[in-house]
């Protein structure tokens, strides 16, 4: 694979590359994580602001894939835009494009091997200091620690981020990436994407994942277990808001259809003699699991935004692992693969229906 070497830190290397692409009119803007008083996603077309880029900072204020889908949903940008996203965000963006919520046209994708991000609650105070001191172990979100898909698959340019200080290699994964760099960067080297260095990280993550599943044992939950976990849910629906896959502008669970009138309450009271308020929280979570689990990319935003610290993302990731395995589907892997419930095969699940 062709690669570009820059003797700078990853963020500075990306800035340098993007600046030269911008000066050569290859791109007209950048969508990435920025820092200005706070971390946020932004689209910038003014080169002066490129110094505020912090694409690889271990922070995820929102799922960047979802943010980008909102910008490209109605129409793709008319000019080429470089996009720097974490692997899970990129996968989410691909899923959203399958769901017709995003356009991939005119976007150049840059991604990197992700070491995980800090929990939003963790970085509320002394954000700069904590980001500067972030290492692989402390303060990382659970969903990041058990993520096995931290190597981006579908980006045009990929940064492994394992070169050590002030050395950055940018791999050119696609023809589009090669075209982009043509005439701008001439000292490309031929290098293999060294995945051996990444295998130890993967093993560690897999171990953590296995351990978490052992502790969680969702298959033993049943309704009492679900009440145990989701009972403190305040029904704010923030998890759905933050979820890249939950894209409906008017969610069923927020709609009037889901409002129960006195008749429903009376029937419930007649049946059980009691009613939990807020009602329907278990319904919401199982319902959302059925809706999104096939496309769940395990980004962990739902856990991160939960005001009552329910490990939503961990449970969703667990369920998603199984449902995705059922259809041998990996969200965001390949644009050609349809989302399983939007397609079917004539011969499958034949034991169902013969009851």
């Amino acid at each position: 694979m062709k690669a570009l070497k820059i003797a700078k830190s990853p963020d500075d290397a990306i800035k340098e590359l993007l600046s030269s692409l911008f000066e050569n009119q290859k791109i007209k803007g950048v969508f990435s994580l920025f820092y200005d008083q706070d971390y946020f996603y932004g689209l910038v077309t003014d080169k002066e602001l490129f110094n505020k880029l912090t694409p690889t900072a271990p922070v995820m204020p929102a799922n960047g894939g979802k943010m980008l889908s909102r910008l490209t949903m109605i129409e793709p940008p008319a000019v080429p835009i470089a996009v720097v996203l974490k692997p899970c965000e990129l996968r989410a963006f691909y899923e959203l494009s399958k769901l017709e919520q995003a356009n991939l046209e005119n976007l150049i994708f840059i991604s990197f091997v992700c070491a995980g991000v800090l929990s939003l609650k963790e970085i509320k105070n002394n954000i700069e200091e904590k980001v500067a001191n972030a290492n692989q172990k402390q303060g990382l979100r659970e969903c990041c620690q058990l993520c096995e898909n931290f190597v981006p698959e579908n980006a045009d340019l990929i940064l492994p981020l394992i070169d050590g200080d002030n050395k950055t290699t940018i791999f050119i994964k696609t023809e589009r990436g090669e075209e982009l760099l043509q005439g701008i960067e001439n000292n490309l080297v031929e290098e293999d994407f060294d995945s051996a260095k990444l295998s130890s990280i993967k093993e560690e993550r897999s171990r953590y994942r296995e351990k978490t599943w052992q502790n969680l044992k969702t298959e033993n939950l049943g309704i009492p277990g679900l009440i145990d976990i989701f009972g403190r849910c305040i029904n704010c629906h923030a998890c759905g808001r933050a979820c890249p896959i939950c894209y409906c502008n008017l969610c069923y669970f927020d709609s009037a259809d889901n409002d129960s009138g006195p008749r429903v309450y009376e029937a419930e009271l007649e049946r059980r003699g009691a009613l939990r308020a807020p009602s329907g929280t278990i319904f919401y979570h199982i319902g959302r699991m059925i809706h999104v689990s096939l496309s769940c990319v395990g980004c962990g935003m739902c856990s991160d935004v939960c005001p009552v610290s329910i490990p939503v993302g961990t449970i969703f990731t667990r369920v998603a692992e199984e449902t995705q395995r059922l259809f041998n589907y990996v969200p965001g892997r390949n644009l050609e693969e349809k989302i399983p419930i939007s397609t079917f095969e004539i011969k499958e699940f034949e034991e169902l229906g013969e009851a």
Partner: protein, 142 residues
């Protein structure tokens, strides 16, 4: 006083073109079956939103039956294939959360299969009778 026998309440989503007609035929033919199924007619089995099934079970139905045309016979050509995938998905989610998957059943019943309709209702009722009432009903603060 003798304790009353448990009679399950099964919510049945029947497709308009096959299964509902099959149920009708069973009725016209005066086939005997337990009075446990509460039919809801839908235009196609693929109209059944997973949330319908979830609502029924969480609000205390003992079981849910989704019935549609045999594969290949769908009035809308492919609706029942989507249903089948969806039921497989719901069962997987239930399974992974420790919920009982056998309280949800999918059955293909054509308009001419009055006897099959009776058989499905009878065996499903028997199965649920053996399992007992939906435990969700006992959960007071749900």
């Amino acid at each position: 006083m003798e304790e009353q026998e448990f009679l399950p309440r099964i919510i049945g989503f029947l497709c308009n073109w096959c299964s509902y007609a099959g149920a009708d035929l069973a009725g016209v033919s005066r086939l005997q079956m337990p009075p446990t199924l509460i039919p809801i007619r839908v235009m196609c089995s693929s109209r059944v939103d997973p949330l319908f099934i979830l609502t029924a079970l969480l609000r205390g139905a003992d079981a849910v039956l989704v019935a549609g045309c045999h594969p290949g016979d769908c009035h809308y050509q492919y609706g029942n294939y989507y249903t089948r995938r969806r039921i497989a998905l719901i069962k997987k989610v239930f399974d992974q959360l420790g919920l009982e998957t056998d309280r949800l059943r999918l059955a293909w019943i054509s308009a001419s299969e009055g006897g099959r309709f009776r058989d499905v209702v009878t065996t499903f009722t028997q199965h649920i009778k053996e399992k007992g009432p939906n435990p969700i009903k006992k959960e007071i603060f749900l």
